[in-house]
Protein backbone atom coordinates (compact mmCIF):
# COMPACT_ATOMS: atom_id res chain seq x y z
CA UNK A 1 0.00 0.00 0.00
CA UNK A 2 0.95 3.59 -0.38
CA UNK A 3 1.15 4.12 3.37
CA UNK A 4 4.75 3.04 3.20
CA UNK A 5 5.46 6.13 1.13
CA UNK A 6 3.96 8.40 3.76
CA UNK A 7 6.27 7.13 6.44
CA UNK A 8 3.50 5.74 8.64
CA UNK A 9 4.80 2.32 9.42
CA UNK A 10 3.17 1.75 12.78
CA UNK A 11 -0.20 0.12 12.84
CA UNK A 12 -2.01 2.18 15.43
CA UNK A 13 -5.54 1.51 16.66
CA UNK A 14 -6.36 5.19 16.17
CA UNK A 15 -5.57 4.77 12.46
CA UNK A 16 -8.93 3.10 12.03
CA UNK A 17 -10.77 6.14 13.36
CA UNK A 18 -12.12 8.89 11.14
CA UNK A 19 -9.90 11.96 10.99
CA UNK A 20 -12.77 14.11 12.28
CA UNK A 21 -13.15 11.91 15.34
CA UNK A 22 -9.46 12.17 16.06
CA UNK A 23 -9.45 15.95 15.68
CA UNK A 24 -12.44 16.47 17.95
CA UNK A 25 -11.01 14.00 20.47
CA UNK A 26 -7.65 15.77 20.52
CA UNK A 27 -9.32 19.15 20.91
CA UNK A 28 -11.51 17.97 23.83
CA UNK A 29 -8.53 16.34 25.50
CA UNK A 30 -6.56 19.57 25.28
CA UNK A 31 -9.45 21.69 26.53
CA UNK A 32 -10.14 19.42 29.49
CA UNK A 33 -6.44 19.19 30.29
CA UNK A 34 -5.92 22.93 30.46
CA UNK A 35 -9.06 23.38 32.54
CA UNK A 36 -7.69 21.22 35.37
CA UNK A 37 -7.36 23.27 38.58
CA UNK A 38 -5.98 20.81 41.10
CA UNK A 39 -2.62 19.13 41.08
CA UNK A 40 -4.31 15.72 41.21
CA UNK A 41 -6.39 16.66 38.18
CA UNK A 42 -3.30 17.68 36.26
CA UNK A 43 -1.42 14.53 37.20
CA UNK A 44 -4.45 12.46 36.18
CA UNK A 45 -4.60 14.26 32.82
CA UNK A 46 -0.93 13.51 32.25
CA UNK A 47 -1.51 9.85 33.12
CA UNK A 48 -4.41 9.74 30.67
CA UNK A 49 -2.17 11.25 28.00
CA UNK A 50 0.46 8.59 28.69
CA UNK A 51 -2.18 5.89 28.30
CA UNK A 52 -3.25 7.42 24.97
CA UNK A 53 0.37 7.51 23.88
CA UNK A 54 0.77 3.85 24.77
CA UNK A 55 -2.35 3.00 22.79
CA UNK A 56 -1.15 4.94 19.78
CA UNK A 57 1.93 2.75 19.45
CA UNK A 58 4.29 5.71 19.15
CA UNK A 59 7.75 4.63 20.28
CA UNK A 60 9.65 6.31 23.10
CA UNK A 61 12.36 7.52 20.72
CA UNK A 62 9.89 9.15 18.34
CA UNK A 63 8.03 10.76 21.21
CA UNK A 64 11.06 12.21 22.87
CA UNK A 65 12.35 13.61 19.59
CA UNK A 66 9.09 15.47 19.12
CA UNK A 67 8.89 16.55 22.75
CA UNK A 68 12.35 18.16 22.61
CA UNK A 69 10.94 21.28 20.97
CA UNK A 70 8.43 21.72 23.76
CA UNK A 71 10.76 21.03 26.65
CA UNK A 72 13.05 23.89 25.66
CA UNK A 73 10.31 26.35 26.49
CA UNK A 74 9.44 24.42 29.61
CA UNK A 75 12.95 24.75 31.01
CA UNK A 76 12.80 28.49 30.48
CA UNK A 77 9.51 28.59 32.41
CA UNK A 78 10.87 26.43 35.18
CA UNK A 79 13.74 28.87 35.66
CA UNK A 80 11.86 32.13 35.19
CA UNK A 81 8.53 31.65 36.96
CA UNK A 82 9.87 30.91 40.48
CA UNK A 83 12.08 33.99 40.17
CA UNK A 84 9.38 36.34 38.95
CA UNK A 85 6.10 35.34 40.65
CA UNK A 86 5.84 37.14 44.01
CA UNK A 87 5.15 35.14 47.17
CA UNK A 88 6.82 33.53 50.19
CA UNK A 89 10.30 32.28 49.35
CA UNK A 90 10.99 28.58 49.13
CA UNK A 91 14.72 28.98 48.63
CA UNK A 92 16.88 32.04 48.41
CA UNK A 93 20.43 32.51 47.31
CA UNK A 94 21.97 35.95 47.28
CA UNK A 95 19.64 38.47 45.69
CA UNK A 96 17.50 35.72 44.10
CA UNK A 97 14.63 33.93 45.76
CA UNK A 98 12.42 31.18 44.41
CA UNK A 99 8.82 31.78 45.42
CA UNK A 100 6.50 28.95 46.38
CA UNK A 101 3.60 30.06 44.14
CA UNK A 102 6.08 30.46 41.30
CA UNK A 103 7.24 26.88 41.58
CA UNK A 104 3.63 25.67 41.84
CA UNK A 105 2.70 27.65 38.74
CA UNK A 106 5.66 26.28 36.78
CA UNK A 107 4.89 22.68 37.76
CA UNK A 108 1.22 23.03 36.86
CA UNK A 109 2.04 24.54 33.45
CA UNK A 110 4.59 21.84 32.69
CA UNK A 111 2.14 19.08 33.63
CA UNK A 112 -0.69 20.47 31.50
CA UNK A 113 1.43 21.33 28.51
CA UNK A 114 3.00 17.91 28.40
CA UNK A 115 -0.34 16.20 28.85
CA UNK A 116 -1.86 18.27 26.04
CA UNK A 117 1.07 17.71 23.69
CA UNK A 118 1.22 13.98 24.35
CA UNK A 119 -2.47 13.42 23.78
CA UNK A 120 -2.47 15.49 20.59
CA UNK A 121 0.57 13.61 19.38
CA UNK A 122 -0.94 10.23 20.11
CA UNK A 123 -4.12 11.02 18.19
CA UNK A 124 -2.80 13.00 15.28
CA UNK A 125 0.77 11.94 14.54
CA UNK A 126 -0.16 9.44 11.81
CA UNK A 127 -2.69 11.78 10.19
CA UNK A 128 -1.55 12.72 6.68
CA UNK A 129 -1.78 16.47 6.05
CA UNK A 130 -4.29 15.75 3.28
CA UNK A 131 -6.66 13.95 5.61
CA UNK A 132 -6.12 16.58 8.27
CA UNK A 133 -7.06 19.29 5.78
CA UNK A 134 -10.19 17.52 4.64
CA UNK A 135 -11.25 16.82 8.19
CA UNK A 136 -10.74 20.46 9.17
CA UNK A 137 -12.79 21.56 6.17
CA UNK A 138 -15.64 19.21 6.96
CA UNK A 139 -15.62 20.38 10.57
CA UNK A 140 -16.40 23.85 9.28
CA UNK A 141 -13.02 25.57 9.16
CA UNK A 142 -13.09 28.26 6.42
CA UNK A 143 -12.01 26.68 3.15
CA UNK A 144 -9.47 29.45 2.49
CA UNK A 145 -7.54 28.50 5.60
CA UNK A 146 -7.66 24.83 4.63
CA UNK A 147 -6.41 25.56 1.11
CA UNK A 148 -3.66 27.72 2.54
CA UNK A 149 -2.55 24.82 4.67
CA UNK A 150 -2.72 22.32 1.80
CA UNK A 151 -0.72 24.55 -0.53
CA UNK A 152 1.80 25.12 2.24
CA UNK A 153 2.21 21.38 2.66
CA UNK A 154 2.59 20.92 -1.09
CA UNK A 155 5.00 23.74 -1.79
CA UNK A 156 7.06 24.20 1.36
CA UNK A 157 9.60 21.60 0.28
CA UNK A 158 10.04 23.40 -3.05
CA UNK A 159 10.55 26.68 -1.20
CA UNK A 160 13.07 25.07 1.09
CA UNK A 161 14.94 23.62 -1.89
CA UNK A 162 14.97 27.03 -3.49
CA UNK A 163 16.37 28.60 -0.33
CA UNK A 164 19.00 25.88 -0.02
CA UNK A 165 20.07 26.35 -3.63
CA UNK A 166 20.38 30.11 -3.17
CA UNK A 167 22.40 29.71 0.02
CA UNK A 168 24.66 27.13 -1.60
CA UNK A 169 25.21 29.40 -4.57
CA UNK A 170 26.12 32.19 -2.15
CA UNK A 171 28.58 29.96 -0.33
CA UNK A 172 30.04 28.76 -3.62
CA UNK A 173 31.05 32.35 -4.22
CA UNK A 174 32.72 32.62 -0.85
CA UNK A 175 29.92 34.06 1.27
CA UNK A 176 30.29 33.55 5.02
CA UNK A 177 27.89 35.11 7.50
CA UNK A 178 29.71 37.74 9.59
CA UNK A 179 28.54 40.66 11.60
CA UNK A 180 28.85 43.38 9.05
CA UNK A 181 26.67 45.32 6.69
CA UNK A 182 27.45 43.11 3.71
CA UNK A 183 26.05 40.07 5.52
CA UNK A 184 22.77 41.76 6.40
CA UNK A 185 22.34 43.13 2.91
CA UNK A 186 22.96 39.67 1.48
CA UNK A 187 20.39 38.09 3.77
CA UNK A 188 17.97 40.81 2.77
CA UNK A 189 18.50 39.96 -0.88
CA UNK A 190 18.05 36.28 -0.12
CA UNK A 191 14.71 36.80 1.60
CA UNK A 192 13.60 39.20 -1.10
CA UNK A 193 14.52 36.77 -3.84
CA UNK A 194 12.65 33.96 -2.09
CA UNK A 195 9.56 36.15 -1.84
CA UNK A 196 9.72 37.11 -5.51
CA UNK A 197 10.18 33.51 -6.59
CA UNK A 198 7.32 32.36 -4.37
CA UNK A 199 4.98 34.94 -5.84
CA UNK A 200 5.99 33.92 -9.35
CA UNK A 201 5.50 30.29 -8.46
CA UNK A 202 2.06 31.08 -7.05
CA UNK A 203 1.11 32.85 -10.27
CA UNK A 204 2.20 29.92 -12.38
CA UNK A 205 0.34 27.45 -10.18
CA UNK A 206 -2.76 29.61 -10.48
CA UNK A 207 -2.41 29.68 -14.28
CA UNK A 208 -1.92 25.94 -14.44
CA UNK A 209 -5.06 25.47 -12.38
CA UNK A 210 -7.06 27.80 -14.60
CA UNK A 211 -5.79 25.88 -17.63
CA UNK A 212 -7.53 22.85 -16.24
CA UNK A 213 -10.80 24.64 -15.80
CA UNK A 214 -10.46 25.82 -12.20
CA UNK A 215 -12.85 28.65 -11.47
CA UNK A 216 -12.22 29.42 -7.82
CA UNK A 217 -13.98 26.55 -6.09
CA UNK A 218 -12.64 23.14 -5.25
CA UNK A 219 -15.05 20.34 -5.86
CA UNK A 220 -15.22 18.97 -2.31
CA UNK A 221 -15.26 15.29 -1.54
CA UNK A 222 -18.22 13.81 0.22
CA UNK A 223 -17.51 12.56 3.74
CA UNK A 224 -17.77 8.97 4.66
CA UNK A 225 -20.20 8.49 7.54
CA UNK A 226 -18.72 7.84 10.97
CA UNK A 227 -18.40 4.18 11.85
CA UNK A 228 -19.44 2.40 14.99
CA UNK A 229 -15.80 2.40 16.13
CA UNK A 230 -15.82 6.21 15.98
CA UNK A 231 -18.90 6.45 18.17
CA UNK A 232 -17.60 3.86 20.60
CA UNK A 233 -14.30 5.69 20.95
CA UNK A 234 -16.07 9.04 21.28
CA UNK A 235 -18.36 7.80 24.08
CA UNK A 236 -15.52 6.15 25.97
CA UNK A 237 -13.41 9.28 25.77
CA UNK A 238 -16.33 11.47 26.86
CA UNK A 239 -16.85 9.25 29.91
CA UNK A 240 -13.17 9.38 30.84
CA UNK A 241 -13.05 13.14 30.41
CA UNK A 242 -16.19 13.58 32.55
CA UNK A 243 -14.58 11.48 35.26
CA UNK A 244 -11.44 13.59 35.01
CA UNK A 245 -13.39 16.82 35.45
CA UNK A 246 -15.26 15.25 38.39
CA UNK A 247 -12.02 14.22 40.05
CA UNK A 248 -10.60 17.70 39.56
CA UNK A 249 -13.57 19.62 40.94
CA UNK A 250 -14.72 17.42 43.81
CA UNK A 251 -11.59 15.84 45.23
Amino acid sequence: MSLAASGARIVAPFEALDARTRLVAALSLVLVTVSMRSLSGQVAALLLALVMLRLSGLSLAQTSRRLLHVEGFMIALLVLLPLTVPGPALLSFGPFSMSQPGVARAVSIILSVNAAVLSTLSLLHTLEPVRLGRALASLGLPSRLVHLMMFLVRYQSLLRDEATRLVEAMRARGFAGRLRMHTWRTYGNLVGMLLVRSVERAERVDEAMRCRGFSGRFPMRANRPLTRADWRFGCALAAVLAALVGLDRFS
Binding site: S2, P129, V153, M209, R210, R212, S215
Partner: protein, 242 residues
Protein backbone atom coordinates in the same frame (compact mmCIF):
# COMPACT_ATOMS: atom_id res chain seq x y z
CA UNK B 1 -4.46 16.48 -46.49
CA UNK B 2 -6.66 18.90 -44.62
CA UNK B 3 -9.76 19.89 -46.49
CA UNK B 4 -9.49 23.59 -47.20
CA UNK B 5 -12.90 24.34 -45.69
CA UNK B 6 -12.07 22.73 -42.31
CA UNK B 7 -12.30 25.22 -39.44
CA UNK B 8 -8.87 25.74 -37.98
CA UNK B 9 -8.52 24.86 -34.31
CA UNK B 10 -6.47 27.95 -33.55
CA UNK B 11 -5.80 31.06 -35.57
CA UNK B 12 -3.66 34.01 -34.58
CA UNK B 13 -3.91 37.10 -36.73
CA UNK B 14 -1.40 39.91 -36.44
CA UNK B 15 -0.73 39.33 -32.75
CA UNK B 16 1.55 41.80 -31.04
CA UNK B 17 2.51 41.43 -27.40
CA UNK B 18 4.44 44.05 -25.53
CA UNK B 19 5.87 43.59 -22.09
CA UNK B 20 7.53 46.51 -20.31
CA UNK B 21 7.92 48.31 -23.62
CA UNK B 22 9.57 45.37 -25.34
CA UNK B 23 7.89 43.61 -28.25
CA UNK B 24 7.76 39.96 -27.32
CA UNK B 25 5.59 39.05 -30.31
CA UNK B 26 5.56 41.22 -33.39
CA UNK B 27 2.54 40.90 -35.72
CA UNK B 28 2.52 37.12 -35.56
CA UNK B 29 0.00 35.12 -37.58
CA UNK B 30 -0.38 31.41 -37.32
CA UNK B 31 -2.96 28.73 -38.11
CA UNK B 32 -3.34 25.32 -36.52
CA UNK B 33 -5.52 22.95 -38.53
CA UNK B 34 -7.03 19.78 -37.10
CA UNK B 35 -4.42 17.06 -37.37
CA UNK B 36 -1.50 19.47 -37.48
CA UNK B 37 1.51 18.81 -35.32
CA UNK B 38 3.35 22.05 -35.46
CA UNK B 39 6.91 22.43 -34.26
CA UNK B 40 7.93 25.85 -33.02
CA UNK B 41 11.68 26.28 -32.90
CA UNK B 42 13.90 29.24 -32.22
CA UNK B 43 16.41 30.65 -29.75
CA UNK B 44 15.67 31.33 -26.11
CA UNK B 45 13.66 34.46 -25.51
CA UNK B 46 12.31 34.55 -29.06
CA UNK B 47 8.73 34.51 -27.78
CA UNK B 48 7.81 30.84 -28.17
CA UNK B 49 6.25 30.46 -24.74
CA UNK B 50 4.43 33.77 -25.10
CA UNK B 51 3.00 32.49 -28.37
CA UNK B 52 1.44 29.50 -26.60
CA UNK B 53 0.25 31.61 -23.67
CA UNK B 54 -1.50 34.01 -26.01
CA UNK B 55 -3.47 31.21 -27.63
CA UNK B 56 -5.12 30.28 -24.35
CA UNK B 57 -5.52 33.79 -22.99
CA UNK B 58 -2.84 33.68 -20.31
CA UNK B 59 -1.14 36.51 -22.15
CA UNK B 60 -3.22 39.42 -23.38
CA UNK B 61 -2.08 40.72 -26.76
CA UNK B 62 -1.79 44.47 -27.23
CA UNK B 63 -3.19 44.04 -30.72
CA UNK B 64 -4.34 41.26 -33.00
CA UNK B 65 -7.05 38.64 -33.03
CA UNK B 66 -7.15 35.20 -31.40
CA UNK B 67 -9.63 32.78 -32.92
CA UNK B 68 -10.06 29.33 -31.44
CA UNK B 69 -12.45 26.53 -32.32
CA UNK B 70 -14.39 28.69 -34.70
CA UNK B 71 -14.87 31.81 -32.59
CA UNK B 72 -12.99 34.95 -31.78
CA UNK B 73 -11.83 34.89 -28.16
CA UNK B 74 -11.38 37.96 -26.02
CA UNK B 75 -12.57 37.67 -22.43
CA UNK B 76 -11.39 35.27 -19.76
CA UNK B 77 -14.78 33.57 -20.01
CA UNK B 78 -14.14 32.99 -23.75
CA UNK B 79 -10.81 31.43 -22.97
CA UNK B 80 -12.11 29.09 -20.29
CA UNK B 81 -13.51 26.81 -22.97
CA UNK B 82 -10.37 27.18 -25.08
CA UNK B 83 -8.18 26.04 -22.20
CA UNK B 84 -10.15 22.84 -21.78
CA UNK B 85 -9.90 21.99 -25.47
CA UNK B 86 -6.34 23.21 -26.00
CA UNK B 87 -4.52 21.85 -22.99
CA UNK B 88 -1.24 23.41 -21.96
CA UNK B 89 1.63 21.35 -20.57
CA UNK B 90 3.68 23.61 -18.32
CA UNK B 91 7.47 23.71 -18.47
CA UNK B 92 7.86 23.20 -14.74
CA UNK B 93 5.87 20.15 -13.67
CA UNK B 94 5.71 21.40 -10.09
CA UNK B 95 3.59 24.33 -11.24
CA UNK B 96 0.97 21.96 -12.51
CA UNK B 97 1.00 19.22 -9.88
CA UNK B 98 -0.57 20.82 -6.86
CA UNK B 99 -2.82 18.04 -5.58
CA UNK B 100 -1.48 15.80 -2.82
CA UNK B 101 -1.81 12.53 -4.70
CA UNK B 102 -1.31 11.67 -8.35
CA UNK B 103 -4.79 10.32 -9.01
CA UNK B 104 -6.39 13.42 -7.49
CA UNK B 105 -4.28 15.65 -9.67
CA UNK B 106 -5.23 13.78 -12.80
CA UNK B 107 -8.89 13.98 -11.73
CA UNK B 108 -8.70 17.75 -11.15
CA UNK B 109 -9.52 18.74 -14.74
CA UNK B 110 -12.45 16.32 -15.16
CA UNK B 111 -13.86 17.48 -11.79
CA UNK B 112 -13.72 21.08 -12.96
CA UNK B 113 -15.48 20.06 -16.14
CA UNK B 114 -18.37 18.94 -13.99
CA UNK B 115 -17.84 15.21 -13.69
CA UNK B 116 -19.01 13.47 -10.51
CA UNK B 117 -16.20 12.59 -8.16
CA UNK B 118 -16.39 8.83 -8.78
CA UNK B 119 -16.44 9.33 -12.52
CA UNK B 120 -13.58 11.82 -12.42
CA UNK B 121 -11.43 9.45 -10.37
CA UNK B 122 -12.31 6.62 -12.73
CA UNK B 123 -11.36 8.81 -15.68
CA UNK B 124 -8.08 9.61 -13.96
CA UNK B 125 -7.34 5.91 -13.44
CA UNK B 126 -8.18 5.08 -17.05
CA UNK B 127 -5.91 7.88 -18.28
CA UNK B 128 -3.06 6.76 -16.05
CA UNK B 129 -3.49 3.18 -17.21
CA UNK B 130 -3.52 4.32 -20.85
CA UNK B 131 -0.11 5.90 -20.26
CA UNK B 132 1.10 2.84 -18.32
CA UNK B 133 1.29 4.84 -15.10
CA UNK B 134 -1.43 3.18 -13.04
CA UNK B 135 1.12 2.24 -10.38
CA UNK B 136 1.71 5.94 -9.66
CA UNK B 137 -1.94 6.65 -8.79
CA UNK B 138 -1.75 6.64 -5.00
CA UNK B 139 1.72 8.23 -4.85
CA UNK B 140 2.32 11.63 -3.29
CA UNK B 141 2.99 14.09 -6.11
CA UNK B 142 5.89 15.90 -4.49
CA UNK B 143 7.80 12.66 -4.03
CA UNK B 144 7.79 11.67 -7.71
CA UNK B 145 10.94 11.82 -9.81
CA UNK B 146 11.27 14.55 -12.42
CA UNK B 147 10.38 12.23 -15.29
CA UNK B 148 7.41 10.78 -13.46
CA UNK B 149 6.17 14.29 -12.70
CA UNK B 150 6.21 15.25 -16.37
CA UNK B 151 4.29 12.11 -17.38
CA UNK B 152 1.73 12.65 -14.64
CA UNK B 153 1.28 16.25 -15.83
CA UNK B 154 0.58 14.89 -19.29
CA UNK B 155 -1.99 12.51 -17.79
CA UNK B 156 -3.49 15.51 -15.97
CA UNK B 157 -4.23 17.29 -19.24
CA UNK B 158 -5.10 14.20 -21.30
CA UNK B 159 -7.82 13.33 -18.80
CA UNK B 160 -9.72 16.38 -20.07
CA UNK B 161 -9.89 14.90 -23.60
CA UNK B 162 -8.48 17.99 -25.28
CA UNK B 163 -8.35 18.41 -29.06
CA UNK B 164 -5.04 20.21 -29.00
CA UNK B 165 -1.95 19.78 -26.86
CA UNK B 166 0.27 22.79 -26.31
CA UNK B 167 3.60 21.36 -25.24
CA UNK B 168 6.11 23.82 -23.83
CA UNK B 169 9.56 22.20 -23.84
CA UNK B 170 8.11 18.78 -23.02
CA UNK B 171 11.47 17.00 -22.86
CA UNK B 172 13.27 19.67 -20.86
CA UNK B 173 15.40 18.18 -18.07
CA UNK B 174 14.18 14.65 -18.71
CA UNK B 175 16.56 11.70 -18.84
CA UNK B 176 16.90 9.69 -22.06
CA UNK B 177 14.54 6.97 -20.86
CA UNK B 178 11.73 9.39 -20.12
CA UNK B 179 12.29 11.35 -23.34
CA UNK B 180 11.86 8.07 -25.19
CA UNK B 181 8.72 7.17 -23.28
CA UNK B 182 7.18 10.63 -23.68
CA UNK B 183 7.94 10.64 -27.41
CA UNK B 184 6.30 7.25 -27.84
CA UNK B 185 3.21 8.32 -25.93
CA UNK B 186 2.82 11.55 -27.89
CA UNK B 187 3.40 9.81 -31.22
CA UNK B 188 0.58 7.41 -30.39
CA UNK B 189 -1.94 10.15 -29.64
CA UNK B 190 -4.47 11.18 -32.23
CA UNK B 191 -4.34 14.88 -31.34
CA UNK B 192 -3.23 18.13 -32.84
CA UNK B 193 -0.18 19.57 -31.16
CA UNK B 194 2.04 22.57 -30.99
CA UNK B 195 5.44 21.57 -29.73
CA UNK B 196 7.89 24.18 -28.53
CA UNK B 197 11.24 22.47 -28.24
CA UNK B 198 14.97 22.50 -28.87
CA UNK B 199 14.94 18.73 -28.97
CA UNK B 200 15.42 17.75 -32.62
CA UNK B 201 14.68 14.02 -32.32
CA UNK B 202 11.27 14.53 -30.73
CA UNK B 203 10.38 17.14 -33.34
CA UNK B 204 11.47 14.85 -36.15
CA UNK B 205 9.29 12.10 -34.77
CA UNK B 206 6.22 14.18 -34.05
CA UNK B 207 5.97 17.28 -36.20
CA UNK B 208 4.11 17.52 -39.49
CA UNK B 209 5.30 21.06 -40.08
CA UNK B 210 7.50 23.63 -38.46
CA UNK B 211 7.79 27.34 -37.91
CA UNK B 212 10.71 29.31 -36.59
CA UNK B 213 10.52 32.19 -34.16
CA UNK B 214 13.22 34.79 -34.15
CA UNK B 215 13.27 38.19 -32.49
CA UNK B 216 9.55 38.13 -31.75
CA UNK B 217 8.62 37.25 -35.34
CA UNK B 218 7.61 34.07 -37.10
CA UNK B 219 9.80 33.42 -40.08
CA UNK B 220 7.47 33.91 -43.05
CA UNK B 221 9.28 31.54 -45.39
CA UNK B 222 8.44 28.65 -43.13
CA UNK B 223 4.99 29.95 -42.31
CA UNK B 224 3.79 29.94 -45.89
CA UNK B 225 5.13 26.51 -46.55
CA UNK B 226 2.52 24.51 -44.76
CA UNK B 227 0.54 23.06 -47.65
CA UNK B 228 3.67 21.36 -48.99
CA UNK B 229 5.42 20.25 -45.86
CA UNK B 230 3.88 16.81 -45.68
CA UNK B 231 5.97 15.69 -48.62
CA UNK B 232 9.29 15.84 -46.91
CA UNK B 233 8.75 15.21 -43.24
CA UNK B 234 8.87 11.58 -42.22
CA UNK B 235 6.25 11.29 -39.52
CA UNK B 236 3.49 8.86 -38.49
CA UNK B 237 6.05 6.10 -38.11
CA UNK B 238 3.69 3.18 -37.80
CA UNK B 239 2.01 4.67 -34.77
CA UNK B 240 -1.27 5.90 -36.13
CA UNK B 241 -3.01 2.74 -37.28
CA UNK B 242 -4.77 1.68 -34.15
Amino acid sequence: MNAPEATPFIELEGITVERAGVRVLDRVSLTLQPGDRLAVVGPNGAGKTTLLRTMIGLQKPSSGIVRAFGRERRSQADFREVRLRAAYLFQDADDQLFCPTVVEDVAFGPLNMGLEEDKALEKARVTLAFLGLEHLGPRITRRLSGGEKRLVCLAGILSMDPDVLLLDEPTNSLDAKHVEKLTQILAGLDKSMIIVSHDRPILDTLATRAVRMKDARLEPAVLHRHPHVHEHLHVHVGSEHE
